[in-house]
Amino acid sequence: MYAISMFHTALALLLAPLLLGIINQTKAFFAGRDGIPLLQLYYDLWKLLHKGAVYSRTTSWIFRASPVVGLAAVLVGLTLVPWGGQAALLSFEGDLILLVYLLGTMRFFTVLGALDTGSSFEGMGASREVQFSALAEPALLLALAVIVQVSGSISLSTMYAALTPALWLESGPAMIIVAAAILLIYLTENARIPVDDPNTHLELTMIHEVMVLDYSGPDLAFILYAAALKLWILGSLLVGLLLPVHGQGWFNTILFFVGMLFLAVVTGVIEASMARLRLQRVPQLLVCAGALAVLAIVLMQR
């Protein structure tokens, strides 16, 4: 059992960058282009890890520490997330709080790294990031609180193990609402459309991309890999909710992986079919996610 959890963690470490490739392929398909290769992020990481680095003279050690802290935070966070109908590598009561706050620490350092460059563009991105995350964090915790209430446990692995097909039949609407809330948070936290456009090429309009504008070489590789893992973590929380499968076996692993791929395709479809929201509209989206979570809790009451 433990071995399977280990295997799932290794799978995440290996396959997380693939999700971004699928998202990009989907977008290219809808745009009628060939698109960048599926494995582009792997090539990029390989190339960046073999490069030197350029640093701004304004920066201090905070700038250099920021990617390292961020990657460490998601790596520890990854061990807490259940996957493929199996318990996570580590689980204890309250691990969901640690997971949410580890992502918070990652963000704290990314923002400091951005401010360390003294660039007004990066300050702008940092400012937007803290605004949106201050609203996304309560929404995520409230959405998880629904699952806590259903399962009576506050450990992610036990919580997700309590989600059964029977539960979906019994309180389907509430579960769909929670899934919608988590989807909104997943899109926001991973800087996807409609919140942030990873393909934008104007510094003024970026959020996440502009914060890491001054990074190069291995530092940038760490950042890109951490972002891929973060996508995997939040994606797993959503897929775990939608695919209530349990027990070990290759079938569950494969099913869950297909679920992750499907989520990547859905993300790509959303990106291809929607315009980005105006920045002033984004808080409304996040408040909406929080409100959906509360609504789901009310619906669960009987």
Partner: protein
């Protein structure tokens, strides 16, 4: 007990000694600071004894004051508060010995150290007093001593104003406490705390009234919204080491008083918990929102005290709600989280105030938008401030996370309960804490990022220098305290057992079962915190290895090809938080005064934003104006003839006598 009384005596005597030596500032400082540090150390020893399970016998001496008695006792609750209340002033005093030396000779430092040591002694006395009169006396001297500390720079108008605000607020709060103690002592005819407890076997409505009195009276000291108005005035006005003591530990005497009153009032009603949760939510969210909008570093930190007191109140609210249900996990998690946050906040808030003092000492300004780039000029201050900033934002792996984690788990316990009332309370706590946490992270990335990172925004920080060792050491000690608590969280949690026994009113064996389960959770949190740091270290080594034989170049920040970048183009603190202050504009009412450029050749343009306290402006000022108007009707009574005043007194006494006899 004798040891603790000796320590208090030493504090007072060294204070008097410092005042006598006023003519020689250096000697006065030495006596004063030496006394605080020695007295602090001496006093902490019995507190540690009590927490490790050795009970200490109370001392009761006769006193001729009516209803009074010199009755002191050190139980678990007092001992738990006593350690930070003596430890933080000792470190702050060492810091202050250098911080104030710039004003050598200009002012009488002797008096300053007298009041400083008096404040420390009275905080300790408040914690151990077990008689109403003694308690109120220590409480009042504590307020007065801190008033004189706040008004140290009394030649400045705004400092005098802040001092007045503080004095008025404290006395209004104390007035409620007088009523509280009189009502408590009415039935038993004694003000000893033992008897107060027995007297309250009374109607619930009365206990509720007493609870509200305690909330207002002690809440004024603690900084509960809307009684918080003195904090953002007094903390920036006081010298930094005084702000550290006041914000870090003195306001916690309010929390102590509230908890002590709760133990006297008997089983709480559910609405007491709801009231505390409501106050906690308002104080937490509004405190951090106002902090976000501030431009002055110390004012920002003062509002963060309101926020953290809010988090503590959320914890206590969960605990009280747990007592009313009753539910042992809610009790343990709520009280333990709240109490642990008391200690954690004492550490990181005093650390941050000392850091702010260092910045102001080095640059001469606390205006965040004028600073920048201090990381390279003041590396020690920067690192300790960063630890404090991470801790206060409640992020792992530091101590702020541990206490918030406990309150969160309490909130989730509430959510998964079958009753509707703890469920809603749990949701409020979860949503509130998460919002507070996110906003606090925004506020401290602003404070740290704008002050210490980037390039200097004006001439002030450009010539800054690192603080002397006497100022650096206390900051390092407090920062290590933050790290140590996060590493030994389970141990600290088990030490809290005697404290929880007093606050929850449960027997140790009833508590143990729940405690053991929660200690296990903290073990995981600590282990994963260490793993997190270890992984970061490994990645750091990996990065170092990857870059070791490659080309690493240094150049300018990416500037979009612009030819003449200047430090003035950096994002400022105001622009950084502008999206958030705009989003919550309805709650904080920031005032903008914009002078737009106009014409073909615009001369100048300016934008000023200012976020005054809305309660001070709209509530208190209106109320005080009405009171002044009303009292002005009676001005004819006050004409300056002392003879007639004596007549007033005589008449009043006569009337009272008739009232009493007849």
């Amino acid at each position: 007990m004798i040891g603790l009384l000796l320590a208090i005596g030493l504090l007072i005597i060294s204070g008097i000694g410092a005042m006598i030596a006023s003519a020689r500032p250096r000697i006065a400082t030495m006596i004063g600071v030496g006394g605080t540090m020695l007295g602090g150390l001496l006093g902490i020893i019995p507190a540690i004894q009590v927490l490790s399970g050795h009970a200490i016998a109370p001392i009761r001496l006769p006193w001729s004051v009516p209803y009074g008695g010199f009755y002191v006792h050190l139980d678990g609750l007092s001992a738990f508060f006593l350690i930070p209340m003596l430890g933080v002033p000792a470190l702050a005093a060492l810091y202050g010995s250098r911080y104030l030396s710039v004003s050598d000779g200009r002012r009488r430092l002797g008096t300053h150290w007298f009041y400083f040591n008096l404040l420390t002694a009275c905080m300790a006395l408040v914690l151990i007093a077990r008689n109403g009169v003694l308690f109120l006396m220590a409480w009042e001297v504590m307020s007065l001593a801190s008033f004189f500390l706040v008004t140290f720079d009394d030649e400045k108008e705004h400092v005098r104003q802040a001092g007045w605000t503080y004095l008025v607020a404290m006395h209004l709060g104390t007035a409620f406490l007088f009523v509280l103690f009189i009502l408590l002592g009415k039935q038993s005819n004694s003000l000893d705390f033992d008897h107060l407890g027995s007297a309250v076997g009374m109607i619930p409505a009365n206990a509720g009234l007493l609870f509200v009195l305690a909330i207002v009276g002690f809440g004024t000291k603690a900084g509960f919204l809307p009684m918080h108005v003195w904090l953002p005035e007094a903390h920036p006005a006081a010298p930094s080491h005084v702000s550290a003591v006041m914000s870090g530990v003195m306001i916690k005497t309010g929390i102590y008083g509230l908890l002590r009153t709760l133990t006297l009032l008997g089983p709480p009603a559910a609405w007491w918990g709801w009231l505390l949760i409501g106050i906690g939510l308002c104080s937490g969210v509004l405190g951090v929102l106002f902090a976000l909008a501030q431009h002055d570093l110390k004012r920002l930190l003062a509002y963060h005290s309101v926020e953290n007191i809010g988090i503590i109140a959320l914890g206590l609210g969960v605990g009280v709600l747990g007592m009313s249900l009753p539910s042992t996990p809610l009790m343990v998690l709520g009280f333990a989280g709240g109490l642990l946050h008391v200690v954690n906040h004492a550490l990181f808030k005093s650390l941050l105030f000392l850091g702010a003092g260092s910045v102001m000492h080095a640059t001469g300004t606390g205006e965040i938008d004028h600073l920048g780039g201090l990381m390279k000029r003041m590396p020690w201050t920067a690192v300790t401030f960063l630890i404090g900033a991470i801790a206060i934002s409640g992020l792992p792996p530091f101590n702020g996370f541990v206490s918030e984690f406990l309150i969160y788990v309490g909130g989730f316990e509430g959510v998964s309960a079958s009753h509707i009332s703890p469920m809603i309370a749990g949701l409020i706590v979860l949503g509130g804490l998460a919002l507070i946490g996110g906003l606090a992270a925004a506020c401290f990335t602003k404070a740290f990022g704008i002050i210490f990172l980037g390039e200097p925004r004006s001439a002030h920080p450009a010539q800054a220098h690192e603080s002397p060792w006497a100022m650096r050491l206390p900051m390092l000690a407090l920062a290590s305290g933050c790290v140590l608590i996060s590493l030994f969280a389970p141990l600290v949690f088990t030490w809290m057992e005697p404290v929880l026994v007093i606050t929850t009113g449960l027997r140790p064996d009833q508590l143990n079962e729940t405690l053991v389960g929660k200690v296990e959770l903290l073990n995981y949190v600590v282990i994963l915190g260490v793993v997190f740091m270890a992984v970061a270290l490994i990645l750091l080594l990996l990065r170092h290895r990857l870059l070791s034989r490659r080309q690493v170049t240094h150049t300018v920040t990416w500037d979009c090809g612009y030819a003449r970048p200047s430090p003035r183009m950096q994002y400022t603190a105001s622009s950084f938080v502008q999206p958030l202050t705009d989003l919550f504009a309805a709650l904080i009412r920031t005032r903008h005064s914009l002078d737009t450029p106009s014409g073909l050749f615009p001369r100048h343009a300016s934008l000023t934003t200012n976020t005054p306290d809305i309660w001070r402006e709209h509530f208190y000022q209106t109320a005080f104006k009405a009171i002044v108007w009303f009292l002005a009707r009676f001005r004819w009574l006050q004409h300056g003839h002392v003879q007639l005043y004596v007549l007033y007194i005589a008449i009043t006494l006569l009337v009272l006598l008739v009232f009493k006899v007849g």
